[in-house]
C-alpha cells in the first residue's frame, strides 16, 4: 500500500516529464522543482487557512473544503511557475534553435536556482506540515495496511490522471498536443499554434506536479528545499519505465516503481531503496530504452 501511494505520487510527477518530453523531446530537469514548489505552496496554503502543527485533524466538510483549497493553490503555483519557466528560459532557446544540450543545461540551472532560492528564503531544515486529516486504518488487505490518507492520495491521483487522459484524448487542445507530439511541423500546417501547445503542456505538467505536492505533504508531512530531487529522479525513472511520452505509461511506471521500491527496501533494507530505484532505471534503459509501453504521446489514445 505504501508502494502504491508513493507510486501514485511518482506517476503524477512523471506525467509532467512525459508531456513535455512528448512534445519537445526535452527532459525538463527542473520539473522536480515545480513539484517542490507545489509542496511549499501547499504548506503556505495550510498556514493561510489558519491550521498549525498540533491542531486537531479536520473532518467532514471542513476537511474536504480545505483539501480542495490547498490543492488548487498548489496546482496554480506550480502551473504558473512551469509556464513562466517555459517563457523565460526555454522559449528563447527554442527560437534560436539551440542544441538540446543547451536546453538540458538550462534545466539544471533553473533547478539549482529554484532550490537555492527556497533554501535561502526558508532555510535548509525540514519544515513540519500540520496534520490535516486523521490517519486511521480502514482495514487490512492481504497484509497491507489500508489507511485513510493513503486511500485519499491514491484516489485523487488516479482521478487527476484520468482527467488528463480524457483531456488529451478528447478535447481539441488535447488533439493539438498529440498532433504536435507526433509531427510538430505538420501540426503547424494544420493551424496548431505550437507555442501555445507547448505552454499548455508545461501548464498541465505543472498543475499535476502541484497536486502531487499537496498529496506528498499530506502523506509525508514535511517540506524542504531539496525535497524535489529524489521524487523528481524517481518520477523520471517511472516515466522512462512506462515509456516516456506515453501518458498511461507514466501511470503504470509510477505504480510499478513504487511497488518495486517498496519491495526492494523490504528485501535490502531501507537505506538501499534509492540505489535500487537507480539500478532499475539503468536496467530499463539498457534493455528496453523506450520503456514498457513504448514512447510517443500520440499513441496514448482513447
Amino acid at each position: 500500500m505504501d508502494g502504491l501511494t508513493l507510486g501514485a505520487i511518482y506517476a503524477l510527477i512523471a506525467l509532467g516529464y512525459t508531456l513535455v518530453y512528448g512534445v519537445l523531446r526535452l527532459i525538463n530537469f527542473a520539473h522536480s522543482e515545480i513539484f517542490m514548489i507545489g509542496v511549499f505552496a501547499s504548506l503556505f496554503a495550510v498556514h493561510a487557512l489558519g491550521i498549525d502543527v498540533g491542531d486537531p485533524a479536520k473532518t467532514g466538510f471542513v476537511l474536504a473544503a480545505s483539501l480542495i483549497v490547498v490543492m488548487v493553490v498548489a496546482m496554480l503555483a506550480s502551473g504558473v511557475t512551469a509556464v513562466v519557466m517555459e517563457r523565460v528560459a526555454y522559449r528563447p532557446l527554442r527560437r534560436r534553435g539551440a542544441p538540446r544540450l543547451a536546453a538540458l543545461i538550462t534545466a539544471v540551472g533553473i533547478s539549482l536556482f529554484l532550490q537555492e532560492l527556497f533554501a535561502i528564503r526558508y532555510g535548509r531544515e525540514v519544515l513540519g506540515f500540520p496534520r490535516l486529516m486523521e490517519k486511521r486504518q480502514l482495514f487490512e488487505l492481504w497484509g497491507a495496511n489500508v489507511r485513510t490518507d493513503k486511500v485519499l492520495v491514491l484516489v485523487s491521483a488516479l482521478l487527476l490522471m484520468l482527467a488528463l487522459d480524457r483531456f488529451v484524448a478528447r478535447s481539441r487542445l488535447g488533439r493539438g498536443i498529440r498532433a504536435t507530439a507526433q509531427d510538430s511541423e505538420t501540426a503547424a500546417l494544420m493551424g496548431v499554434n505550437i507555442d501555445r501547445v507547448i505552454m499548455l503542456t508545461f501548464l498541465l505538467g505543472g498543475l499535476l506536479a502541484g497536486a502531487a505536492g499537496t498529496l506528498y505533504g499530506l502523506f509525508f508531512e514535511a517540506a524542504r528545499y531539496n525535497i524535489g530531487f529524489l521524487p523528481g529522479i524517481k518520477a523520471f525513472t517511472a516515466a522512462v519505465l512506462g515509456g516516456i511520452g506515453n501518458i498511461r505509461g507514466a501511470l503504470a511506471g509510477g505504480l510499478l516503481l513504487g511497488l518495486l521500491e517498496n519491495w526492494g527496501s523490504a528485501v535490502l533494507g531501507g537505506e538501499w531503496k534509492d540505489v535500487f530505484a537507480f539500478t532499475v532505471l539503468v536496467l530499463v534503459l539498457m534493455f528496453r530504452p523506450t520503456g514498457l509501453l513504448g514512447e510517443s504521446l500520440g499513441r496514448a489514445r482513447a
Partner: protein
C-alpha cells in the same frame, strides 16, 4: 494575384537554398513547380507556409504580406498545405486526422464539420470505410488521400501539395490527380510540387521550373510538356521521351550522351 512571391531568399545556416524566387498564382489556377531533387521545391512550399524564415523578399497572399507570420496564422488565412511524405498523424484515427485538418476553424464541434466530412468522404470513399482506423496503419495511397482530404477540411482558398504522387503506384497516381482536378473545379487554387513532372504538367495550367534555388523558366504547362530540353532534364529524360510516347522510337538519340543531362 492570390499568391505572390517576390525575390524570396532563404538560407539553411550559411547555405542559400532559395536565391531569389519570384512566382505568382492566380485565383482558380493549378500551378506546378518542377525541378530535380535539391532544386528548392519543398523549401519554397515550406517558406510559403511559414515553416522557414525568409532572409529577404516578400510573400503575399491575397495582397497581404505573410512572410514572418507563424504557420498557424497563415493556415487561418486559408492557405493550407499537404506536406511531403503526407504527414499523416500515425497515432490518430482517420476521423481524428480529418478533425485536425479543421483545427484552425476553432471552436466547432463535429456537427459543424459534417458537410466538410461529407465532401471529403465523397471525394475519397475509401476514407469513409476506414474512418476509425489509425493513420499509421493505412496504405500509402490511403495516407495520401487522407493528407489531401485533411487539407480540405480547413475550407482553404488555396492548397499547397508537396509530391502527392510519392511512393504511389501508377494507377493510384492517376486517381489522385483526377481528384486534384476535381478539387480545383470546385474552386480551390492549387500549387503543386512534383517530381513526376510529366503528370504534373498535364494537370497544371502553368508551371515554373526550379533549378538550384532559382526559377529558370516559367511557361504554360503544355508548352513545357512539349519542350525538348525540359523533357530531357525533368521528364525522366530520354526514357520518358523514348518509351512513354513513341515506344522504342528512341527520340533525340540521346542514350548515353552526357549532354542529355544538361539544360541550356
Amino acid at each position: 494575384m492570390l499568391l505572390e512571391l517576390e525575390d524570396v531568399r532563404v538560407h539553411y545556416g550559411k547555405v542559400e537554398a532559395l536565391k531569389g524566387v519570384s512566382l505568382q498564382v492566380d485565383e482558380g489556377e493549378i500551378v506546378t513547380l518542377v525541378g530535380g531533387n535539391g532544386a528548392g521545391k519543398t523549401t519554397t512550399l515550406k517558406t510559403i507556409s511559414g515553416l522557414r524564415p525568409v532572409t529577404s523578399g516578400s510573400v503575399r497572399f491575397d495582397d497581404r504580406p505573410i512572410s514572418g507570420l507563424a504557420p498557424y496564422r497563415i493556415v487561418r488565412l486559408g492557405l493550407c498545405q499537404s506536406p511531403e511524405g503526407r504527414g499523416v498523424f500515425p497515432g490518430m484515427t482517420v476521423m481524428e486526422n480529418l478533425e485536425m485538418g479543421a483545427y484552425a476553424r476553432s471552436g466547432r464541434g463535429r456537427p459543424a464539420l459534417r458537410p466538410d466530412l461529407e465532401r471529403v468522404f465523397g471525394l475519397f470513399p475509401r476514407l469513409a470505410e476506414r474512418r476509425n482506423q489509425a493513420g499509421g496503419t493505412l496504405s500509402g495511397g490511403e495516407q495520401q488521400m487522407l493528407a489531401i482530404g485533411r487539407a480540405l477540411m480547413a475550407r482553404p482558398r488555396m492548397v499547397l501539395l508537396d509530391e502527392p504522387s510519392m511512393g504511389l503506384a501508377t494507377m493510384l497516381v492517376t486517381q489522385i490527380f483526377d481528384i486534384l482536378a476535381e478539387i480545383n473545379r470546385q474552386g480551390t487554387t492549387l500549387l503543386l510540387v512534383e517530381q513526376n513532372a510529366a503528370q504534373a504538367l498535364r494537370l497544371a495550367h502553368r508551371a515554373y521550373v526550379l533549378e538550384t534555388g532559382r526559377v529558370v523558366r516559367s511557361a504554360a504547362a503544355a508548352d513545357l510538356l512539349d519542350d525538348e530540353s525540359v523533357k530531357s532534364a525533368y521528364l525522366g529524360g530520354d526514357v520518358e521521351a523514348g518509351v512513354g510516347e513513341g515506344d522504342g522510337d528512341a527520340e533525340g538519340g540521346g542514350d548515353g550522351d552526357p549532354s542529355a543531362s544538361s539544360v541550356p
